[in-house]
Symmetry: C2
Subunit: 142 residues, 2 copies
């Protein structure tokens, strides 16, 4: 069904190589260093295809452009409101997951996406690059 194209392999390898949840455009720039004639459309098509197949993860829930993650191990993402960095957190939330499942009753859950937002360790210690504009959302959305 699917063919094993050089471009697709490069895209996957580049995505797995970095830890930075790149956008399609960023993947395009990385891939172009190895396949100079690769097109942005090809990158979009392959990222979407691999996300559908479950080979990579698509991050819809972060601000702005869609991002992709080559790391399939269960983990969460932490977005620092001060510096804008996106961190990987590996929290063991099995128990919480089970609780959510049981609470959801007849809604059959196959996937739970969690995004944490706040202030990262670096931004808490003194040097705040860019303090958040308005102090809203103190109450969590959980």
């Amino acid at each position: 069904m699917n063919r094993n194209s050089h471009q697709r392999n490069v895209i996957l390898e580049e995505l797995r190589r970095v830890k930075t949840h790149p956008t399609a455009d960023e993947v395009y720039l990385m891939a172009r260093q190895r396949v100079p004639k690769i097109s942005l459309g090809t990158v979009y098509r392959n990222l979407e295809l691999m996300a559908e197949k479950g080979i990579i993860r698509r991050l819809d829930y972060v601000d702005g452009a869609r991002r992709y993650d080559g790391d399939l191990t269960p983990h969460q993402h932490f977005l620092c409101r001060d510096c804008g960095r996106l961190y990987d957190l590996f929290l063991d939330l099995h128990e919480s997951l089970e609780k959510v499942r049981s609470l959801a009753g007849s809604f059959q859950i196959s996937e739970i996406k969690v995004e944490l937002i706040g202030s990262c360790p670096q931004c808490q210690t003194g040097s705040k690059d860019s303090p958040s504009s308005s102090g809203c959302s103190t109450g969590a959305e959980f």
Copy 2:
């Protein structure tokens, strides 16, 4: 500081009136029935402004266009993979929230976004409108 414009009030009322997490464009269509000359730009500006003030909720983590929610009470969203509907779920996740906070260590969490994905009660009982294309993501991302 902020002025009390008629357009802003209409936008807020319309958003609160419905349960359908509309996009900016959908809010625009609703608002236009009451303020025919309202512009899309005004809708975007006001939604963004109210989201920043914490008067409404902005849903970044759902597919496609950004959506807004006029309901500020803590709740989660459930996206049905089969029919595409977006449900509100009111699960009490205080305990889980506390656990996440403690696990996150030096990452100071101010907000936790949770999205649940799966199959809704209606789609489970027989009549599947459009069965999911590929059986990926059986493991949760938690």
